[in-house]
């Protein structure tokens, strides 16, 4: 049954009666996002930073990794000390064009080597002995007032990551707006949504509100995402498809400010070389096209791309041609407005280790503070609930 029939059947003539007030905000496009986009790519499983950005001038690297080290002559050299894994040729180009910043030795005190806990810590921005229930970007959304809508932060997935969950507001998960629209906006649920009224119990009212917002956001994103011309030009990998979706939305000035994607498979305890390089190649091939696409469409200056992983890996390789869970790692930023493109700080120190692991020198929350303050324009302390000095990266 379509909407008109329903209205007729239910004897209600005017749709105005149904549209709750909270919807009018983004339906009327009174949305101000300052044009700035943040794209976060999460490498799940703990990417091996030392074989991504290789300290090819360091004998300890080769000593610790007799069969896993990248030979000096294969490294794509960026400086006298550091160079990329051979799969990252596109990233090297971005580096040379001043579109990439790499931060070394990022971590936090008392590091945890469990994927789950460490990712939790990255998502919530807590200390390693704190258990927080909200994510840092979720708390950023909590701070936003008039310009909030659920799809302001969009994860390209069917389930929502903790980083995007706030106390009062959360981001939005949709791997495919058309699919979500079908699931959330079928005839029955559309009709059900019209039963939202003011005498619902509080929790029921909250469920209705979430349903109606979801329907509205799914519709909006569906319209924004349709007729994409990018399918052929991006790789057909997961990351390629996800970035094509995001590029399409960004170029169409979608009211989404934060995009989040997850790339898994980095837990390389065994046979690391092929597995990691396959993933790095997928990332490289997709990100290069993505950055160039945004540049061509004059969106790169308004976009900041961040890539992180929950931890790096042990300096010494293990007995299975792999590496085990470690601590500090690199974080990558790309965009047209980087303050200090290039390699931001010192290379990892392989002679001073903590139980075989790198010792962090940059707390990841200083990076978040930079993003919050210098990109999203909010006071980091309100989100991080503690003072962290921003880095001069953005």
């Amino acid at each position: 049954m379509d909407r008109r029939n329903f209205l007729k059947n239910s004897g209600l003539a005017s749709t105005a009666l149904f549209v709750p007030q909270f919807l009018s905000r983004f339906n009327n496009s009174g949305f101000n996002q300052n044009g700035k986009n943040l794209v976060i790519i999460q490498w799940s499983g703990g990417n091996d930073g030392l074989n991504t950005l290789v300290p090819f001038h360091n004998d300890l690297y080769y000593k610790n990794r007799p069969s896993l080290a990248i030979p000096k002559n294969k490294v794509l050299k960026l400086t006298d000390e550091l160079g990329f894994n051979p799969m990252l040729a596109g990233m090297k180009d971005l580096y040379e064009e001043g579109l990439l910043t790499i931060i070394n030795n990022v971590g936090y005190p008392n590091p945890i080597r469990s994927h789950f806990r460490s990712m939790d810590i990255w998502h919530t921005a807590s200390d390693s002995n704190q258990y927080w229930q909200t994510g840092w970007l979720g708390r950023y959304l909590d701070q936003t007032k008039a310009d909030y809508s659920p799809h302001k932060a969009l994860e390209i997935d069917d389930a929502l990551v903790l980083a995007l969950k706030g106390k009062h507001k959360s981001g939005f998960a949709a791997s495919n707006p058309a699919k979500l629209k079908k699931a959330a906006n079928n005839n029955f649920l559309q009709k059900v949504a019209h039963h939202h009224n003011h005498d619902h119990e509080e929790n029921v009212a909250y469920l209705y509100k979430t349903l109606i917002e979801t329907q509205s956001s799914a519709d909006y994103l569906f319209n924004q995402a349709k007729n994409s011309t990018r399918k052929g030009s991006y790789p057909s990998t997961s990351i390629g498809k996800d970035l094509a979706t995001i590029a399409n939305l960004i170029v169409k000035d979608t009211n989404t400010k934060i995009y989040y994607i997850n790339m898994g498979g980095f837990d390389t305890h065994a046979s690391q070389k092929n597995r990691q390089e396959r993933l790095l190649k997928q990332y490289n091939d997709a990100i290069k096209i993505f950055v160039k696409d945004l540049q061509k469409n004059q969106k790169l200056d308004d976009t900041l791309i961040m890539t992180f992983s929950e931890f790096g890996r042990r300096v010494k390789q293990n007995a299975s041609q792999g590496t085990d869970h470690g601590t500090a790692n690199n974080v990558y930023f790309m965009g047209g407005k980087l303050k200090n493109p290039g390699i931001f700080n010192e290379a990892p120190n392989l002679s001073n280790l903590d139980e075989g692991d790198l010792i962090y020198s940059v707390d990841f929350r200083r990076i978040y503070a930079s993003v919050l303050k210098n990109w999203l324009g909010v006071d980091p302390e309100n989100v991080l609930l503690s003072t962290f000095e921003p880095l001069g990266i953005i």
Binding site: P150, D158, A159, S170, K179, A184, L189, E202, L207, S217
Partner: protein, 462 residues
């Protein structure tokens, strides 16, 4: 005033996972007090999970060398997932609903993560079951000695001279008193008292004298040669502990919004009964306020509440461990895998756009009127981003409900089914629902209406 039927439904939703129509009819002819007593008496006689763990047995016999076998470890993980689905099935089929409910509550309270070892998981669940309605002090002590918890909170590494404070900290902060009622120094002293509390390789609690710190300790203002038992005893002497637990119980079983008067009454009685959990629960279920309108249908069902409730109502079973896991993942609550030691926050935090849409479509997936078109996030260990189309293998038996309404007028069916399945006020009218039930693939009105009612936001609360 809620009807007796509504009160019984409410009681069974909060003290269990809903009630069958047949049982509801039966209980409606008894005094409510009798129904409450039966629930409590049954739960005082806990049955333990009995599933066999052949892989664990094989590994235990083989010793350390066997544990190095990656293949066997993987099988052990699989067996552990079997404990998860066995437990959920048990919740749905048990004749002891309050025991199941209390066990789940304590799992959220004494949250422990066990992803790899079926034996650890099973023993931990049975620790909770044994004391679920017993004495809170004994429960805390059993948890302090539970091998799973010992490993999870690093008490294995807690020894004289090198105390590990993890367990002591959570014992005070999350398990008993709540933050702000002790000092950092109290944590340090408590940690010393629990030195040497370990688990052996067979997953059995042991006390290591040579690791234990026998020196004097000062804890919460008292001084002595305290061991772990003493620490728990002193914690229980503090009224704050009774208040902290009573508050949490109230928020879980009654209402997230605290009524100070009721909580104070509960805390007072809990303390004076020397922490009898049974008495605490009896006080709640026998109080008038538990059945007040403001407390009925005001709790957002947890994913497990929702799933087990549907399993009971529909006589539903999911054919595979994978299906159980998939639903838990998509809804955001995996048993034996809480986000961390603080457990699940509950309430509105269960809900985001993705979990809500999955919840509203779940009945359709199970009735197979809709195909599942979403994917769970891959595990960290997965080799790549997996995109395996999920099929839910589900079987159900609606005949008891259909037979119940044989030759019944549709209007009566509508009123009766919605009253049974929906705990909050329902605004949608039969005439509106007819537009859908008349066109549903399933030709049976009762089946169609059950499906539609379970698709409503109102079904998400109890």
């Amino acid at each position: 005033m809620p009807t007796l039927r509504k009160k019984i439904s409410h009681l069974y939703w909060r003290a269990g996972f809903g009630i069958s129509l047949e049982m509801l009819d039966q209980k409606s002819s008894l005094p409510l007090k009798e129904t409450i007593s039966k629930l409590l008496t049954d739960a005082k006689n806990p049955d333990l999970l009995t599933l066999q763990l052949p892989i664990y047995e094989q590994l235990a016999k083989g010793g350390k060398a066997m544990m190095k076998n990656a293949d066997l470890r993987k099988k052990l993980q699989e067996e552990n997932r079997g404990v998860n689905s066995f437990w959920i099935r048990n919740m749905a089929t048990s004749k002891n609903p309050l025991l199941e409910r209390m066990t789940l509550f304590w799992h959220g309270h004494f949250a422990m993560i066990s992803r790899n070892n079926s034996n650890v998981s099973k023993n931990y669940i049975n620790t909770l079951r044994t004391h679920a309605l017993g004495n809170f002090g004994e429960l805390v002590l059993a948890i302090a000695r539970d091998p799973g918890m010992i490993k999870f909170l690093n008490n294995q590494q807690n020894k004289k001279g090198h105390p590990n404070e993890n367990f002591a900290r959570e014992l005070l902060e999350l398990f008993t008193m709540g933050i702000g009622h002790y000092s950092e120094q109290d944590i340090k002293e408590a940690a010393r008292a629990f030195t040497g509390w370990r688990t052996n390789k067979n997953g059995v609690f042991t006390f290591s004298e040579k690791r234990h710190d026998y020196d004097r300790k000062t804890f919460l203002g008292q001084e002595g040669d305290f061991n772990g038992e003493d620490i728990i005893r002193i914690i229980l002497e503090k009224k704050q502990t009774a208040k902290f637990i009573a508050t949490k119980v109230y928020q879980y079983f009654v209402n997230q919004k605290i009524n100070q008067e009721h909580v104070q009454e509960l805390a007072y009685e809990f303390y004076n009964s020397n922490y009898s959990i049974e008495k605490l629960m009896r006080t709640i279920f026998e109080s008038n306020w538990f059945y007040a309108e403001e407390n009925i249908g005001t709790k957002i069902k947890s994913p497990i509440d929702l799933l087990v409730g549907m399993m009971k109502t529909l006589q539903l079973d999911l054919g595979s461990q994978k299906s159980f896991l998939f639903i838990q993942k998509m809804l955001g609550q995996i048993l034996l895998n809480p986000p961390n030691v603080a457990g699940w926050a509950g309430g509105p935090s269960w809900i985001d756009n993705a979990t809500l849409v999955f919840r509203l479509n779940l009945a359709g997936y199970l009735f197979k009127t809709q195909s599942v078109n979403v994917y769970a996030k891959p595990a960290f260990e997965d080799k790549a981003r997996k995109k395996i189309k999920q099929k839910l293998s589900a079987t159900m038996d609606l005949s008891p409900i259909i037979n119940h309404f044989k030759n019944t007028d549709e209007a009566v069916i509508y009123a009766s089914l919605s009253d049974w399945l929906i705990q909050t006020k329902l605004n949608i009218k039969k005439s509106e629902m007819d537009l859908f039930t008349k066109n549903d693939v399933t030709s049976d009105y009762v089946a169609s209406l059950v499906l539609r009612l379970m698709t409503l936001p109102e079904y998400q609360v109890c």
